[in-house]
């Protein structure tokens, strides 16, 4: 018996397989009159793990939300697989958003569903799979993020780290090959964080997923990322782009070196006798 399957576009509906996974051009973003980032341009290639770095409040999460299409840039364009998420119609934007797996800082699980139902939710909404198949897929995803033991718990019963891991499992449920993770390792113990790094690398290696990761965790940055961009809240620009090890060892920018070497600001000089 030949069980054939129809072909689908790997990058999700409406995208161009040859284009970069994500392309940001001359982006200016912020809130109201407050500009967080001005004239930023970068690409994220397919199967690349790119990390967005920067101090607290520099706009890392906001950049991610602009990429997802939740916020509209003040100026500039953002394309997903060659299709602009800024100028496209709302229907097409919804399709593009479905092709992105997103894990928010808090996990953003639905409070009225248990963990398994949360992970199954995208499959319930967008596939015709029978319940048993959806359950198996969701349980395997939970297994991947070491959350199998918590499948029947409600989000209110989970710790911050557990919420994040369940959020990652849900982000992967539809097989989106572009995953955006907002501080996935924050609040996790070192072993779980290392396991999560390994999961990210495995998914990239096996399934060719593209990752955009917002994180502060230096160890995680060196473990997983191919490339990093660093945002600066003062100049409101990308002040560094490259491999994290190169940035740490060879950057001439003191802000970049300070970040990678985890140095405190210089203490104010004291006077006196």
């Amino acid at each position: 018996m030949d069980v054939a399957t129809p072909l689908t576009n790997r990058s999700g509906p409406g995208t161009n397989g040859a284009a970069p996974a994500i392309s940001v051009r001359h982006l200016k973003m912020g809130y109201g009159k407050r500009v967080l980032l001005d004239d930023a341009s970068f690409d994220v290639q397919r199967s690349e793990i790119m990390v967005i770095l920067g101090g607290s409040g520099c706009g890392k999460s906001s950049l991610m939300k602009n990429i997802i299409g939740l916020y509209r840039p003040m100026v500039g364009d953002i394309s997903i697989g060659g299709v602009s998420i800024v100028t496209t119609s709302s229907e097409e934007r919804a399709k593009l958003q479905r092709s992105l797996g997103v894990m928010y800082q808090s996990g953003a699980l639905f409070g009225s569903l248990n963990v398994l139902e949360n992970v199954r939710f995208p499959l319930d909404q967008f596939t015709t799979l029978p319940l048993a198949h959806k359950n198996l897929t969701a349980r395997m995803l939970l297994h991947q993020v070491e959350m199998a033991y918590a499948e029947s718990l409600m989000p209110g019963e989970l710790s911050g780290g557990m919420l994040k891991r369940a959020g990652i499992a849900r982000a992967m449920a539809l097989g989106c090959d572009i995953l955006l993770l907002d501080e996935p390792s924050a609040g996790l113990d070192p072993i779980t964080a290392a396991n999560l790094d390994r999961t990210i690398l495995t998914l990239r290696q096996s399934l060719g997923f593209t990752f955009v990761v917002v994180t502060h965790e230096l160890q995680s940055i060196f473990n997983i990322s191919d490339r990093a961009i660093m945002l600066d809240p003062v100049s409101r620009s990308i002040i560094a782009e490259g491999k994290p090890a190169d940035l740490r060892d060879h950057s001439t920018d003191p802000r970049v070196r300070q970040f990678f070497n985890r140095e405190p600001d210089k203490a104010a000089k004291t006077t006196g006798g």
Partner: protein, 362 residues
């Protein structure tokens, strides 16, 4: 059906197997296994271009099937990168079916509801004891009352509620006067409608309608505010500062509500009676006649009773709202449940308190 090896059935997978496309493939593959229970099955994956998590679950589901020796399922020619993912799972980890939410019967439901109400009653008594202790402590000067907070809450819960209370009170006066007036007209007793409107507004409807509006508007807000503070661990922060959440969060709300509801009720009384007077003009009773009849119909006791009732309603609504807020569990759903519970319980308690007042003052 292909026969890849002697006696073996074959399933050929090809193309891209993803969440959107795996459904029919998965079912057809399982059908093939079911139709060949005693034969080995070879899954030819050499033509698979790409599989996602659902595709991996499909392959895992096929190889984990319990079948007789010699009738196993083998996956051939799957790209090593995909095979590694399928091989990463142990079938034993997925033997237990997921727990489904158990639907409880009516008796269990009633039992649980009764136990919940008893626990709630007990928690409420403890809470009221804490409130009384906090109030006593403040009264004796040992605790700090946050009067600026009381003023803010009173402004929001009281002053900002004036328009809605005026509207509801006015409409209540109009409705009662009109309904009673139509009946009284048939007996030539229109003038006594004034008695009905006056007594009903002062003793019952003014405080009652004000309390219901207050429960929906402010009781719910108290539960949601404190519930969110509980979820965000602000209540824990207050406790670890050595402060009492009851003193810090609850007492200002109790004071503000106990002061504001009577004032709002007086406004409702006034506009309700005014609304009744307007309607009575239509029945041939002038404002002067209405006023004179009203003075003879209602007493100061009616007015004071209504005000006292309103104060008790306000205290009860605030106490219930705050208690529900402090009892909030975790997550946004819990805040919603607390808010709903606060409003429903408040309205029930308003009616119960009204009944108690009626029994003891009639």
């Amino acid at each position: 059906m292909n026969h890849a090896a002697a006696g073996a059935a074959s399933i050929v997978l090809e193309g891209r197997i993803t969440a959107y496309t795996a459904g029919p493939v998965w079912q057809a593959a399982l059908d093939t296994l079911a139709n060949n229970p005693d034969r080995p099955v070879v899954v030819d994956a050499s033509r698979v271009e790409y599989i996602d998590d659902v595709g991996i679950a499909l392959l895992f589901d096929l190889v984990r099937q319990e079948r007789p020796q010699g009738a196993k399922v083998e996956v051939h020619d799957l790209e090593p990168r995909f095979a590694a993912l399928v091989g990463a799972y142990d079938p034993k980890d997925f033997v237990q079916p997921p727990k489904v939410r158990r639907h409880i019967g009516i008796f269990e439901h009633m039992g649980r509801a009764t136990a919940q109400q008893l626990a709630y009653g007990e928690a409420m008594l403890v809470f009221l004891e804490d409130c009384a202790a906090a109030a006593w402590s403040t009264f004796r000067g040992r605790g700090t009352a946050r009067w600026s907070e009381v003023l803010d809450i009173a402004t929001e819960a009281g002053a900002n509620a004036v328009p809605i209370v005026l509207l509801i009170g006015f409409l209540m006066g109009v409705i009662i006067a009109f309904e009673i007036g139509l009946v009284a007209q048939q007996f030539g007793a229109v003038i006594f409608v004034v008695n009905g409107v006056g007594v009903a507004m002062l003793r019952e409807l003014g405080p009652l309608m004000t309390a219901i509006v207050f429960a929906g508007r402010t009781g719910a807000a108290f539960a949601a505010q404190i519930g969110t503070q509980k979820v965000n661990e602000e209540v824990n922060a207050i406790t670890t500062f050595g402060l009492s959440p009851v003193q810090f969060l609850v007492l200002p709300r109790l004071i503000a509500a106990t002061l504001m509801v009577p004032l709002l009720a007086v406004l409702a009384d006034v506009v309700g009676i005014f609304g009744g007077a307007l309607v009575m003009v239509g029945f041939g009773v002038s404002f002067v006649q209405f006023y004179n009849q009203l003075l003879g119909a209602v007493t100061l006791t009616d007015f004071v009773l209504g005000v006292v009732k309103a104060a008790v309603y306000g205290l009860a609504i605030a106490a219930i709202g705050c208690e529900r807020g402090l009892a909030t569990g975790a997550g946004a759903t819990s805040v919603g449940l607390s808010t709903t519970s606060a409003v429903v319980t408040s309205i029930v308690m308003i009616v119960v308190i009204d009944g108690i007042f009626t029994i003891f003052t009639s």
